[in-house]
Symmetry: C2
């Protein structure tokens, strides 16, 4: 049997209707922007393997640091014990995050980083003597796939089969650049209608990823955070996708004046090598759990919390930001995207072209949005045939490349996109 | 500042009341059964660092395999794509699991393995045209810390601050060796009282871990599974702790005659090196999602699903089971535990001494159960002072060692336990 056949026989892939999907392509090697399949065919990884890879595939420096750590101390229980890479990483994250965060709580992936943030928010109020069980979120939010993370995400096709077991949240509309006053009004009225019941407001800063790279302004977000602060409602920035340079600055919340109370990090944190996450908080959140009463502790932890290999990878990734001038590369991608966006923005097949840093999103006029659209599958296949891995969200095609991508490879992706839009015309 | 001080300043540790807890001990190196702190002091890891480490710390073979993989292919999006280590691991897991499982779904930790299993169960029924939203579980169960996993776990101190947002489940009492008929009666009546609403029954096979290593018979579990099968209720074995040799056989479900429909694996799966998990299912479960209708797919996935480093570690760990005759070591630990259990079982300070394979649990007569008991802290400190890492669950002290532990180190732990019981007398 070929590897593809063996894959189909033994594995159930995530987010895949395996009956109608094409066979999974089996990759055997990665290098920089490229992945190579078992026949040696080279693909451009146009979305950084689910938005995780930032310095390029199999970067030798990160690989080496993981290897060193694995030989020395691979894992230690993180309750009652600690280790140097975890301490160094926490210090380093705190030093680069905007806004005076004080404590780092580790976990394994974006969903668990969000689950920890939700639990912190609820228990913060309980420890303060208030019962607050409601969370505000955007109608098109995506925060992960576990029940808590799904509950604070959009209701729709992703959540339908499990919706009866999700907890209730308070939705406000998703902002764009035209409805800012309306969104502020909705937030104010959501707070008014649920007096003393709102624990927190959770959001993807500047870009809502999975719902189609929907973008909104830092000014609006600053206002929304300001409104929450007036009412002492905790704010949670889910920077799982936006963190580590993706939006042009190291963190999307650097575009803000106000600081949030909690910030969730994952995906790019290890440079794209392995699962790892952090939920970082202001001192006053931690203080609400720091008590003589043992039951005020946070009841959350995973076996591999603070895993030394994940910490080593994350430290190495931060080293590379300095050694390789990664923020300059991000600036270059941003400018190159801008030029291309200008070139195609009047194309009649397109409804919208939008950009935030290294993320360029192109929304088609025709075809419905949503995960199940047929345009999506057509686009996906078109680019795979051209050896470019893109993964449209409904009628929204987007590029979210590793920061090491060359100008030539960016142009290759742009050309393929223009070829596709020409077909559509 | 010392590492301990820096740790306290920057990190929020899981399951820790940091105000009353002793300073976290900072480990710098691991080797076999031992961890070494920054002063060079050597500790015996008596509970395998949260039940994860099975072949010993920093095992060079697993470290080497991770290093090789990191240099070659560290990560690839697992939707639309696959890679050889994931395929080999799935085939290998299917070949060693009892009971004819057919498909492997990967995720990152025990909680997500359980969340995936719950979502599969609910959507299985929905895809079949039935709405079934209730799950049966044991009253003292522990299945993880995310909202879905918490919902199917015991209500109590762990879940109190978040309990208003947990979904309802159907609890039956926790079995022991004296109440088997009663448990079967409760399961039958739970099914009768919720006709056509029960999607699945989830359980920790043979040993309920976090609630205090509560043990029950394989015969009873077989009967319970049989009752579920009569009513076409799905069965989910959470082998996150019990898997990979812990209970004396490779999987706890090997003690059963009936096979479960879904099995959750994590912790020991990577030999204790890094977060990774799998939810493995029978073919008929997968078939209910395999459809021309795209919306029947499973809507679950994490960025690092099927991470190549995790797969490489897991394959290496399975190699070691063969190369190092690990099941023989497990047999030796089992026998050594048995002899010690016989020696202390009549000690008047003890209520119960119970064992399942490499897990030996000693329940004290005095002191309440539960996470917040003061006996727990006293015991914890007693053993740490003797350089033995044990982590009692309330009044239950247990040993759950790496399989490479020597007879001398086991005896050292036993002696310390006898010293403690002598003090208590």
């Amino acid at each position: 049997m070929t590897l593809r056949e063996r894959d189909k026989k033994a594995i159930w892939h995530p987010y895949t209707q395996e009956k109608t999907a094409a066979d999974n392509i089996v990759m055997v090697r990665g290098e920089g922007t490229y992945l190579y399949d078992e026949t040696g065919t080279k693909y451009i990884d146009g979305t950084s393997s689910w938005w995780t890879n930032i310095h390029g595939h199999a970067h030798p420096y990160i690989a080496e640091k993981i290897a060193e750590q694995a030989k020395k101390l691979e894992q230690v229980i993180f309750s009652g014990f600690s280790h140097e890479p975890a301490i160094m990483l926490a210090e380093r994250l705190l030093s680069i995050l905007p806004g005076g965060y004080e404590k780092v709580f580790y976990s394994d992936n974006g969903s668990t980083a969000v689950e920890a943030a939700i639990k912190m928010s609820l228990q913060y109020w309980k420890n303060k003597g208030e019962e607050r069980n409601k969370i505000i979120c955007f109608r098109d939010a995506y925060h992960g796939d576990t029940f808590g993370a799904m509950s604070v995400s959009a209701r729709g096709v992703f959540t339908d089969p499990y919706s009866r077991l999700l907890f209730d949240v308070v939705f406000i509309d998703t902002p764009d650049f035209s409805n800012e006053e309306e969104i502020k009004k909705q937030l104010r009225s959501a707070i008014r209608n649920n007096t003393s019941q709102i624990a927190a407001f959770i959001f993807e800063p500047l870009v809502l990823g999975s719902s189609g790279m929907k973008m909104y302004s830092a000014e609006l977000l600053d206002d929304l955070i300001g409104i929450c602060q007036e009412h002492k409602i905790l704010t949670i920035a889910d920077e799982v996708m936006t963190g580590f340079g993706r939006t042009g600055k190291m963190f999307a919340t650097e575009y803000l004046t106000h600081a949030t109370d909690i910030i969730c990090l994952s995906k790019g944190i290890t440079g794209g090598f392995m699962p790892f996450a952090a939920t970082v908080v202001k001192g006053f959140i931690y203080d609400a759990f720091y008590d003589d009463e043992k039951s005020k502790m946070l009841f959350h932890g995973h076996s591999y919390t603070g895993n030394p290999l994940g910490c080593a990878a994350a430290l190495a990734s931060l080293d590379l930001f300095e050694r390789e001038g990664t923020l300059n590369k991000i600036g270059d991608i941003t400018k190159t995207h801008e030029a291309f966006a200008k070139r195609i923005k009047d194309n009649p097949t397109l409804r919208d072209v939008r950009q935030q840093g290294t993320i360029l999103a192109i929304e088609f006029e025709v075809g419905q949005g949503g995960y199940l659209s047929s345009l999506r599958d057509k686009m996906y296949q078109f680019f795979i045939e051209r050896r470019i891995m893109l993964r449209p969200l409904g009628n929204v095609l987007y590029i979210l490349p590793p920061y090491c991508i060359s100008g030539a490879d960016l142009q290759a992706i742009y050309s393929a996109i223009e070829e596709f839009t020409a077909q559509k015309r």
